[in-house]
Amino acid sequence: DAGVTQSPTHLIKTRGQQVTLRCSPISGHKSVSWYQQVLGQGPQFIFQYYEKEERGRGNFPDRFSARQFPNYSSELNVNALLLGDSALYLCASSLWTWEITGELFFGEGSRLTVL
């Protein structure tokens, strides 16, 4: 069975540009979360979506937005990129019961470099 897949794996952008990152959850998983991991730090929560609705938002500016599609895949958009947005962006999928089981499955991430 395929795990969580993310694309692209690596990308380079310049300041002020916009980026879209994509995530396909494990089949059957309806919840998708996005995390930002800056080098040397733990992942920071950005968004959670469940059944196509936003269920949680971390402390990130409005330049960050996301959505979940009817097939439960998700996109993370970042506008007006800053140098500080350079990070590994992780997507995680789960069953709705992950709060009980703790089983959050992460993808390999998208490494974004902003020059």
Binding site: V4, Y35, Q41, G42, P43, L90, T101, L104, G109
Partner: protein
């Protein structure tokens, strides 16, 4: 200020050693504490500890939650080079649709042969 603090930030040991990684937390609506292992990119789930399950063990790894001290430890016995990774502690807070994980910075463990 950091809600989840891990220590040490890095640790170098030799194969066969036993290591103890620490995690302390301060959140208002604690639900669970989770440990993940991050070798390259994708963190992989190790344990989840809650009020109803404060001790977990799997092979050479074990973890204990101390709700009174607001902390947890992750023990790894008879370490192997394959244990080299970043170990992340995360605290689950809130509930239902507001449930989210807050991660610490991680402990970088290096096991030398």
């Amino acid at each position: 200020e950091d809600k989840v603090v891990q220590s040490p930030l890095s640790l170098v040991v030799h194969e066969g050693d036993t290591v103890t990684l620490n995690c302390s937390y301060e959140v208002t609506n604690f639900r669970s504490l989770l440990w993940y292992k991050q070798e390259k990119k994708a963190p992989t789930f190790l344990f989840m500890l809650t009020s109803s399950g404060i001790e977990k063990k799997s092979g050479r790894l074990s973890s204990i939650l101390d709700k009174k001290e607001l902390s947890s430890i992750l023990n790894i016995t008879a370490t192997q080079t394959g244990d080299s990774a970043i170990y992340l502690c995360a605290v689950g807070e809130g509930g239902g649709s507001n449930y989210k994980l807050t991660f610490g910075k991680g402990t970088l463990l290096t096991v030398n042969p």
